[in-house]
Symmetry: D2
Subunit: 379 residues, 4 copies
């Protein structure tokens, strides 16, 4: 197995599994002189952690993060050395381990279990999906919090929200309305329209009652990304973001701007015409392109949507195979689960977008330039 | 600029621009002992090259490829050394260069011109979109042809076709029907249903008459991919393919399996239940997951869809900016263009899928194992 | 700062500094099914840790390692997931921090302090050399222990010893004699000849008395490395090993086989002539090449020598600069130090050699093949 | 085979073998706006190419380089797109191919032939050492010429010369004396002292008469490298340079500054004490460290020495094996060869040093910063 590193200049390496002792994250490419404490990271982790409402898994992880490397002696300032973070697991109860042990050879449909069994055989981690568990996304969120802090210095914001849960859709809202909605009406489904949020949660509970789970769509927006981020050919900003987001468990689709809607648009309808505004700034009449031209940021909002499938773990019998007995079987429902992960996936998606932007920012500007910005930052 | 390399084990590096002397491709990670001549590559390039019908650009590039490195003295066999390929440009006429020169400071909406100007200023290649031109996709197709040859030894096939052009949709067809349709009714829009193909072409011509261009959706299918390809966490097979495909000019969306349709499916509806068939082989009752479990190949067909936006170059006046004069202006139409690139994009998308699969195959098996397969292959 | 990852397939990422809370190591590319406990790692760390004799630094780090990720529920077996290791620092006393604080602007000659100050300015970690401290080599040794365990399954051994300390040289000894010497006469300078070891230690103490420190040469030997490891052109095995070893603090030179001695050898003298022995195995009459042909392993012992300079921290006044006052000054001796690091550097050098070999082994064979070996291993 | 790419930000990918059609080089990471023609590259290639004197191989390659990608329409300026270079082989005569064919199963001692045979079996390129031939170093020199051009804008110079051939040594000379010597007394062994050069050449001819070949030592110096280049831990500037240089065919050893001489130096003798000179610039009293502190450039000259072994191809019978017949045999001398490659290796070593420095420069400063420098450069 490799694959546990993301990024070239802002490089995040993670480890840890669902029922191991803990999760570790090393972040290389940290600018020096940035004030950083757990208070910068913990709130993001708290947005993702389970056990906070009836539409989440009841697993009681507190996800308390510790920074053990990369901070200097005085003032909680980064030194340029890689950050080391650790999050110990605290709700890996023997009863749940036993449940997984009992069913380890019965492949759970929709889960990575089967592909890991093919890759690692008997040695594959059968407990709670191991490294393939959504638990690993805590590492992404922790690293994303650091990325967001770097972006904040340049006034770049990355937000996400649930745009659709099953057939229930959030109406079109502006960036400011979304932020306001989420701030004033915080809710576990992370939908900025409070009425729609209630409908989504109700729909989710209704599905939960049947032992089933719900899918949805998350939209992300990155504002104030400077024009020019992204490299030509294979390493466009859009390619890096897609790579990062498609690596999130349960994500099956991504689109930028008009996305699949481009299929029925002509070139004239698609093109975002340009003009100088009264301040002499470059503006676009529309943003069908999702803030990208040639895959590179053009200065407008970077906008995309991501489809998150319903949690695979359900409380309904399913046909499957027993790889030990090599026979067909019926899987009886087990273990704790999320009625939907759409709400909790929002900070994970924001994290991958933020990490991608920081990576390209450093690739374009280099470490010295990012360093210079730090100087002002800490004063 | 970096970004001109794709892959870790099967590593493709490309260069060349729209109006330069030619395109170069170096492919590292080539197994030794594979018979390879230009006849393996040229047919794929011929599928992509322009100037073959009224729905393509009239640019008359022949895209003749030469292999100048990586082949041994006898029998056209690879030696394990990297392949060197070159394709000289042969239709870069001064009249077209002059057109681009005249308009170099007028940013063409929908094109990468503006973002390159931000990145490289005066030095940005203003001629025919330079490195950002679709011309670079010839490199992808050439490398894809080599990847497909490697995959063919393991009986892995990658196909693509136009599933939708504007509002015209191809009906659901089986893998065999698609292959048969494309083989028996070859057409420039690469749609396997001959009647639908005619409708698509007619629709495209209708749009062309108005000086406009057409968007669409391409579906790709990879058959016989062994289970277990893809790495956990950040380097899932789905992430690699998404990275590759999203780096193709004009691509704005990708989805696997049910894709965005997962938004309205419950977990029970989403999960692909499993069974052993009469031969004892693992089978899935459905393929909503698009051949992926946890982002790793599960043995079923890998299926995805890609949205290709309409060509940005149109024959309609558009508002834009003149970056030299720093003023608003109206862009008059110039230069040659494709009424749609959907047909020509099919081999490009197949190429990125094929390259991604080979890369993960080598990552999993290593070069020695791929070597052993070669032995049998050439006998 | 980046640079905290080594390897492509066996990928070690490390963090942690001299006076931070601890050191973290994430190792990606771990084969599944390998039995692994702290008992496999701790003994190697114990060979490196300070405070064990009069020729070491008196710093009392215990270097206790904890494995917090990558091990399955049963039998201490790896699962294929990345390993997470943590070593908490336990001797970062305030008195020493204060010493470093008092002298933070006085650049210590021979140390990385000045170059880090140039890179990170005020934010550079001034305490105990921060990330540039030899303390980071504990991470290398921990990862090296895991690499050695993987190599052991294929009967590959990597050993090192001090061949020279100042002008005192160890006589020529065979591989078996070196191993026997080190096993039967363990000593803190890691020289396999017990009499020479005593002389080296005595010389070192003599130099220490004057407040000074001692340099030396370490030889490493890797036995049973299969022929064919290493990639052509830029990624030869010799290049990877050199990269790894030259990245160790205090290392200033490396040579393979006859090394600089090749300067006065003719081609006939240099070439290692070949023959089949009575078993039909390929043998070399000599090993001037140090087990490498074209930078790739040829099956003979891989042999090299590394020069380790004397510890920069000395108890003698030195001219230097004060970067705060921007004036010349004289540095008075401070802090704890190693009279020589040659003995402690031996496991560090072995670690980088072992990591390099495992990386190339996986690159050649892929993860699946290494996996197959595991199967036999654990039974 | 992979391994044909060097660098992270200034990324050189090469292909081509001894008796193929030609050599290709793609260089990614090129700043835009740099004037570049073949006249910048050809002179460096001419320093390396064979057939220019009695101490070179008589092979008559002209090494004419063509730039086919990466240059804009006007003024020979780079655009930021990757450079594409091609050098066609023009002296691959059938008579020589036949010689290699006749002896293909007889492993030539000291050559990479055996290790390639192990890796690629029958498919290994047996002709003129294939990809392992010194011919590939033409690619390095071409890329090095581009790297030097980038460095020249910042006043950074990289020079090399033969310091020792067999037992004949060049006296100590200053940087200026070396440059002057090489400029005023150009000679094929690239030794700056004209009398010593004649002795070296005479010694080489004497050895050649016996059918044998000669080894030697090359020193390189990089002047005006700014302090702060190199990344901590595994990617020090010293590690990158060592990686690059150790990947050159025939190189077996590298040392920086006092190198192996550090073995007998105490810490006090090793440390380069510092001071501010009258201009307030940081200076070092000595340069034992070879311009490096903690593996990062400190502002002083970067100095190192490299041992180049004698050419493996000799005109003397040698014992070896026939891998086809699986028997011992005696190899009779064949083919063209270099009596020494020390003179021709000088530009190759300079190239790897220059490429390493540019790579770290871009890593530190990013592409945008290098871009800004270009602006001034071209005016």
């Amino acid at each position: 197995m490799i694959g546990n590193t993301f990024g070239r200049c802002f490089r995040v390496t993670a480890c840890g599994e669902s029922y191991g002792k803990g999760l570790g994250i090393i972040i290389d490419g940290i600018p020096a002189g940035m004030k950083l404490t757990v208070d910068d990271i913990q709130p993001e982790l708290d947005r993702r952690r389970p056990g906070q409402s009836a539409i989440d898994s009841p697993r009681g992880e507190k996800d308390k993060v510790e920074i053990f490397a990369g901070i200097g002696q005085d003032g909680n300032l980064t030194t340029g050395a890689p950050l080391g973070l650790i999050i110990y697991n605290n709700d890996t109860q023997p009863i749940h381990v036993q449940q997984y042990r009992d069913y380890r050879y019965q492949m759970r449909p929709g889960h990575a279990e089967f592909t890991y069994y093919v890759k690692y055989g008997e040695y594959a981690d059968w407990c709670g999906a191991g490294r393939a568990s959504g638990r690993e996304t805590a590492c992404r969120v922790a690293a994303g919090a650091v990325a967001k802090k770097i972006l904040a210095r340049e006034n770049i914001e990355v937000i996400g929200y649930v745009k659709q849960l099953m057939e229930i859709k959030c109406p079109e809202m502006s960036f400011e309305e979304i932020k306001k909605g989420l701030a004033e009406h915080p809710n576990h489904i992370n939908c900025p329209d409070p009425e729609v949020a209630q409908k989504m949660i109700a729909r989710c509970m209704e599905i939960k009652e049947k032992g089933d789970t719900a899918g949805g769509i998350i939209e992300f927006i990155a504002r104030n990304v400077p024009a020019g981020l992204g490299e030509p050919a294979f390493d466009k900003l859009s390619a890096t973001i897609s790579h990062g987001i498609m690596s999130i468990p349960a994500v099956k689709a991504i689109e930028f701007g008009a996305g699949f809607g481009f299929a029925t648009m002509t070139g004239f309808e698609s093109n975002d015409q340009m003009y100088y505004d009264d301040n002499g700034d470059v503006k676009f009449k529309t943003n069908h392109g999702g803030g990208l031209l040639g895959g590179i940021s053009c200065g407008d909002d970077i906008v995309g949507r991501v489809c998150v499938k319903a949690t695979s773990t359900i409380d309904i019998k399913q046909d499957t195979i027993d790889v030990k007995e090599h026979k067909n079987t019926v899987l009886s429902p087990i273990t704790r689960r999320d009625p939907t992960i759409c709400g909790r996936a929002v900070p994970v998606i924001e994290a991958m977008v933020a990490m991608s932007i920081v990576d390209h920012l450093m690739l374009a500007r280099g470490f010295e330039a990012v360093q210079r910005l730090d100087k002002e930052y800490t004063i």
